[in-house]
């Protein structure tokens, strides 16, 4: 007997599975899948943007807010200059068409390698409840860009801030593209507390996470 049959056989014996109740079980699991039952969650903040910003800062993420997309490269350049970070950056190919050069940034749209020090990504959406970014992997949005460089800069469209993770899943299902290989939820810089439970930033991932929030005037759309 294969291990699969052996294990499933013992699980079935424990449950009391019989030919008579298998159909009822299947109906039950299909009903559960269709119901997408949601658990209790905290109240939604009145001002998603303000709440998201405050919680991001509590996670040691820095936040800059700009009025429109055109101001993003300059905001990124300002951040890099303030921190004396290099202006050669790696970023999502999806963001390559922005006027980076005008802001003095040498932008390479590709997956990241070890030598890259600054990585620039967008995000699929952001979650106000926990100040979390949701990134989807893909050819134009490689996962390594938010992972290997010491500094991660993410551009967040304020209209894409949703209250909770359940809303993020709803958006993912509603929009084209489907579930990618990797959905990465990121909440602040990489950290560890393994030595004496003392929190240190920059364990394996970025030491710094900086957000450029782009206002677009329809912040309340998803409430």
């Amino acid at each position: 007997m294969s291990s699969r049959d052996d294990i499933l056989g013992r699980v079935r014996a424990g449950i009391g599975r019989a030919p008579g109740n298998a159909a009822a079980g299947r109906t039950a699991i299909e009903a559960t899948l269709a119901a997408r039952r949601q658990g209790p969650r905290p109240a939604v903040a009145d001002d998603l943007l303000a709440s998201f910003k405050a919680k991001s800062e509590a996670l040691a993420t820095t936040v800059d807010i700009v009025d429109d997309q055109a101001r993003v490269p300059a905001a990124v350049a300002r951040y890099l200059a303030e921190r004396s970070l290099p202006t050669e950056v790696v970023g999502w190919p999806a963001l390559e068409s922005q006027p980076w050069r005008d802001a003095g940034i040498a932008f390479a749209g590709r997956g990241a390698v070890d030598a890259d020090l600054v990585g620039i990504t967008g995000c699929h959406c952001a979650i106000a409840e926990t100040a979390t970014l949701m990134l989807l992997s893909g050819p134009d949005t490689p996962a390594s860009v938010s992972l290997l460089p010491e500094t991660h800069i993410a551009i967040v469209d304020a209209s894409r801030i949703v209250p909770a993770m359940e809303d993020a899943w709803r958006l993912l299902r509603a929009e084209p593209g489907g579930l990618p290989r990797a959905v990465n939820f990121i909440s602040g810089p990489s950290r560890t507390g393994d030595i004496e439970q003392t929190i240190v930033l920059g364990a394996h991932g970025p030491y710094r996470v900086h957000l450029v929030l782009v206002k677009s005037g329809e912040i309340d759309r998803l409430k």
Binding site: L8, G25, E129, A182, G205
Partner: protein
Amino acid sequence: MEIRSMHFKANAATALANPVLQGNLRTSKGKFVDKRRAAIADFQAEGGDFEALREAGRDLRNRVLENLDLWLEKFESTATARGAAVLWAKDGAEICRHVIDIGKRHGVTKAVKSKSMLSEEAGLNQALEAAGIQPVETDLGEYILQINDNEPPSHIIAPVVHKGLDEVADLFARVHRKPRKTGIPELTREAREVLRSHFLTAEMGISGGNFLVAETGSVALVTNEGNGRMVTTLPRVHVVITGIEKVIPTLEDLALLLRLLPRSATGQHISNYVSLLTGVKQPDEHDGPEHLYFILVDNGRAGLVGSEFQDMLRCIRCGACMNHCPVYQTIGGHAYGWVYPGPMGSVLTPLYTGIENAIDLPHAATLCNQCGVVCPVKIPLPELLRKLREKQVEQRLRPLGERLALKAWAWVASKPKLYALGTRIGVRYLDWLAGGGKAIRVLGVVPAWTEGRDFPAPEGKTFRELYARRQKP
């Protein structure tokens, strides 16, 4: 992993007599407790209801267990449809065989590992080394243990909670052959640099799995360091090793459990990285594994389905029970002698390794129910510990002296006159031991009991004597 739980009493005595360990336990004591309390207070302040959340978590995990066979089949079909291979392992040896086979198939010489307690159950690192595949632990805590001659972890989420900064500093200086650092950030940086080169060169990544999502055929991985992401992004082969009880129905269920797990574990509102991984790298993708394997493991779990211990399968491995356990806080995790310490370990170890191999563990509890109160999925841990004690009695595994003493007590207790005489003598004996005081310093028949505490002296006469006096006019 070798089982040393039968030596619990000796291990606990050694732990109590170890001043370095006691110092480290004092340093960490209460930190997780305080952080969890603060995180839950924040949640309540935002209008959340943590108690309702725990109930929802319990109900969700119970719903899965009712049809676990069908959920596993569902997961197998959705995962396979996305290009993953699903393998099954009855025990630790089969886990090792699968991983080594996969490694050989893909020409693997080095495997980077994100924390997996199942890998500890299987003793996977030793098996990989013997097969010529170099395993590298990448969770900072697990890495520290690995370079310290494969020391076992003492906590399921904070594996080196028993170690102090000085020990880590000495270890790094010796193993890395670099000048000794004394700051925690500098030590963390040094480990980052050493491990980065391993991430970039390993052909295989091995991870555990916090949850398997049946709806999508995905594994959800929760880490703070980002090593879970590295292990599942850079190598061309990814192997997930996880217990059969980890399956959940939908992404909404994942959202629910992610409100419970980090708050209960580290007191965070969310862990830094949560990854939902589904299938393999697409042809035009830069990152991600070309081959994805799931190893679904029994190793004792299937036997709990439908049993009086089924509640234990709800466990989401947060560690809150050990953080709040007065016994764990006093002796640390190593004394428990296997992979899982604290209350959940005292239930799992006898169930997974044999009740006769861990006789003392169900007794390593005061039954104060701190663990039951904090468990995010409301596992009645004290009740399960009590049931294990009952099993020991039923299977005649208790020592002869204890069995005879209980028999004698039962005999006396069923004879009211004899029982009354016995208690009268007993009370006067204890009174005499107390010498008229309120406490007994040395309990004559079991002096060990009073080595670390006093025994309260009885208040004069027996209940029956007092009752009889009140009945008199």
